[in-house]
């Protein structure tokens, strides 16, 4: 035994320290590799006469874009085009996630229904839409449904305010007036009250077992308060109505068919997967739980809502997260029907107009990575919260 030497070297045998060293070495090697690739790329690009760097982002784009959620003209920069593409991707993904979740839960529960017809219909729905490639579904909704729509001059119209034709669904656009502040305050107040009532109702039920119709009360508040506010302070909005002028409707707010087709296709496709996840989650809850709930005299709806689903959620959420990620990534199929999403617009048109493949693709990849990580983080957080409810 030579204590002095072993004390000096003992850290080598400490698994924790070894772990850290391994991590640091990996990081350095990775950094060097990336640096080498970047350096090589810049030199080779220069040798091949291809511009590099991100200066192009300040150049004017010079082309028009179908749907922009922020103001845009042709003289705006490629950087702004990037933001527009990003917002369009986020818009269709968010809409898709909401719709796919609702549809998926309905179909998943329906497939387990005791009613043979309902369950058979749900099975057909799931098996059909799960097995048709999303691109085909997008084309179907776009070209098949589009073809059936009337031309602008033969639009279907309702109350001279809502119009449907091949160019999209035209809705009145709200333009805020001075009374809008009171309106917004009323809305916020209504939701705050809803939350307070929900807490109070929960405590009361925990203590006395008395249920309280929280949802309907809340909904009533959200409708009533803003209505009262607009009675007192005047209408919070004036409405800009779409009008047929020349070739097209102008004014109002338009939902373009590209967005609708993409939204419907992605929602239905993903909902088929979510339905299966929901079904698996519900089946994972032991039957004893249902029996116990029945023994307590809960109605079938209450059983599902209060006993089965909360427990099933713990099984459902992790795979649900990957479906949300899939939907977001599948939204890049948008380019096929001309919806200006990030990939079509930025990694497509901008790449092509500038020729700067590495920069544009890297930016697009960074975005998808960030969105994915953010959805994952959120779902992890939510999952933890759900898991804690366990007793």
């Amino acid at each position: 035994m030579k204590p002095s030497r072993s004390a000096f070297l003992s850290w080598i045998y400490d698994p924790k320290i070894r772990g850290i060293i391994a991590q640091v070495v990996t990081l350095v090697v990775l950094g060097l590799l990336v640096g080498w690739l970047a350096h090589n790329a810049v030199t080779n690009l220069a040798a091949r006469g291809i511009a590099s760097g991100f200066d192009f982002l300040n150049d004017p784009a010079g082309f028009g874009i179908l749907q922009t959620l922020i103001p845009y003209t042709e003289s705006d920069t490629y950087a702004r085009v990037f933001v527009i593409g990003l917002l369009n991707t986020l818009l269709v993904s968010a809409l898709g996630i909401v719709a796919a979740t609702i549809l998926g839960f309905i179909m998943g529960v329906a497939r387990l229904s005791k009613n043979a017809l309902v369950s058979a219909l749900a099975t057909v729905y799931i098996e059909t839409f799960r097995n048709i490639p999303p691109l085909l579904q997008i084309f179907f909704w776009y070209f098949a449904v589009l073809q059936a729509m009337p031309s602008p001059r033969q639009s279907l119209g309702w109350f001279d305010a809502v119009f449907l034709n091949i160019r999209g669904l035209y809705l009145p656009r709200p333009i805020p007036t001075e009374a809008v502040t009171a309106f917004v305050v009323a809305v916020v107040l209504a939701f705050a009250l809803w939350w307070v009532i929900a807490r109070w109702a929960k405590r009361r039920q925990d203590e006395t077992g008395q249920p309280f119709p929280v949802f309907w009360t809340g909904l009533g508040l959200v409708v009533l308060l803003p209505y009262l506010a607009s009675l007192v302070f005047g209408s919070p909005f004036t409405w800009e109505l779409p009008q047929l002028r020349g070739f097209n409707f102008v004014g109002g707010w338009v939902m373009i068919p590209e967005l609708v087709a993409l939204w419907v296709a992605l929602s239905i496709y993903t909902s088929a997967f979510i339905a299966e996840i929901v079904r698996a989650g519900i089946l994972a809850v032991p039957h004893g739980q249902t029996e116990a709930a029945m023994a307590l005299g809960l109605t079938p709806q209450q059983r599902l809502r209060l006993v089965i689903l909360p427990q099933a959620m713990r099984v459902i959420i992790p795979p649900l997260t990957s479906q949300y990620l899939n939907l977001t990534k599948n939204s890049s199929l948008a380019a096929a029907i001309g919806y200006p999403d990030l990939v079509g617009l930025f990694a497509g048109t901008v790449l092509n107009q500038t020729g700067q493949a590495i920069e544009t693709i890297a930016m697009a990849m960074a975005v998808y990575l960030t969105i994915s990580i953010m959805i994952s983080l959120f779902m992890n957080w939510y999952n933890k919260r759900m898991a804690l409810v366990e007793r």
């Binding site: 690739l37 970047a38 090589n40 790329a41 030199t43 080779n44 690009l45 040798a47 091949r48 006469g49 291809i50 511009a51 010079g62 082309f63 028009g64 874009i65 179908l66 042709e74 070209f143 589009l146 073809q147 031309s151 091949i166 160019r167 002028r245 020349g246 070739f247 097209n248 102008v250 068919p257 590209e258 890049s332 199929l333 380019a335 096929a336 029907i337 001309g338 200006p340 990939v343 079509g344 990694a347 497509g348 048109t349 790449l351 092509n352 107009q353 500038t354 020729g355 493949a357 590495i358 544009t360 693709i361 890297a362």
Partner: protein, 341 residues
Amino acid sequence: MKQKTLLAAVGAALTVAAVAPAQAGETMDAIKARGEIRCGVSDGLPGFSYTDEKGVVRGIDADFCRALAAAVFGDANKVKFTPLTAKERFTALQSGEIDVLSRNTTWTMSRDTGMGMVFPAAVVYYDGQGFLVNKKLGVKSAKELDGATVCIQAGTTTELNLADYFRANKMKYTPITYDKSDESAKGLEAGRCDVLTSDQSQLYAQRIKMANPDQYVVLPEVISKEPLGPVVRPGDHEWFSTVRWTHYAMLIAEELGVTAKNVDEMKQSSNPEVRRLLGVDADFGKAIGLPRDWAYQVIKQVGNYGESFERNVGKGSPLKIERGLNALWTQGGLQYAPPIR
């Protein structure tokens, strides 16, 4: 399709990141070693490049690829065609997936300078942008298009010209930007857009693809200059010159009256220009690594410029496009080749 673009782009990124810079003669050496030319064409544009019922790629752009193969290998069939959308085409060339892009591509300064590509000054077709509308709209001029919805193809000069034109004329429009010309055509047919805009020649090509071509008219305005021609990567002078002079040889052949039919007799001609073109008296191919009879093979197997034009887009084709700007300079057109000497 999307995945293909992405893959191509990522591929380009990686090749560019990992591979050494281009060497002189690199492309030509690779072509000869491989035994065929990889040629990027459009994925379905009658008259320019499209696949016919027998699976043969036809059109003026496709024939130019064949002419290159005839010049290099003495065999016009040694071509591998790669169909590309407008958006995919430049990455495919930059990354080395193809040797030459012959896909109705407009020669512009930015494409010729900062993008790792060069145009060998061979304009196979002088074009300009136009508009195709449904007759039902009753529009007679592009100036009446204020407020119109317009179908275009992504990643083209068309997108930019359109924006310029409407801005210059203080008009508004809604662009619908598709990846493929088939989709733009469908968009117009379905009524998603009022107008389809593209290079004029391509409007005629698009029109014959429609279910009811007579329902559509091309408006008189031409709003841009679109010199269409092949593109290569810079750095290989032999290949660059081969592409350039193959086009010029086809022009000179037309000018001198040398055709696929009479080229063998013409070898006996006493005209020194003809003798130089066909490599009878002197060997102009040697300097760029081509066989002595390179131009003879081009003319014998593919024909002169006029023959290719008439067969693919002119009188001998369903498009029936007039020579117009594409007539030889001696006939009042713009097609003009420097002399072989």
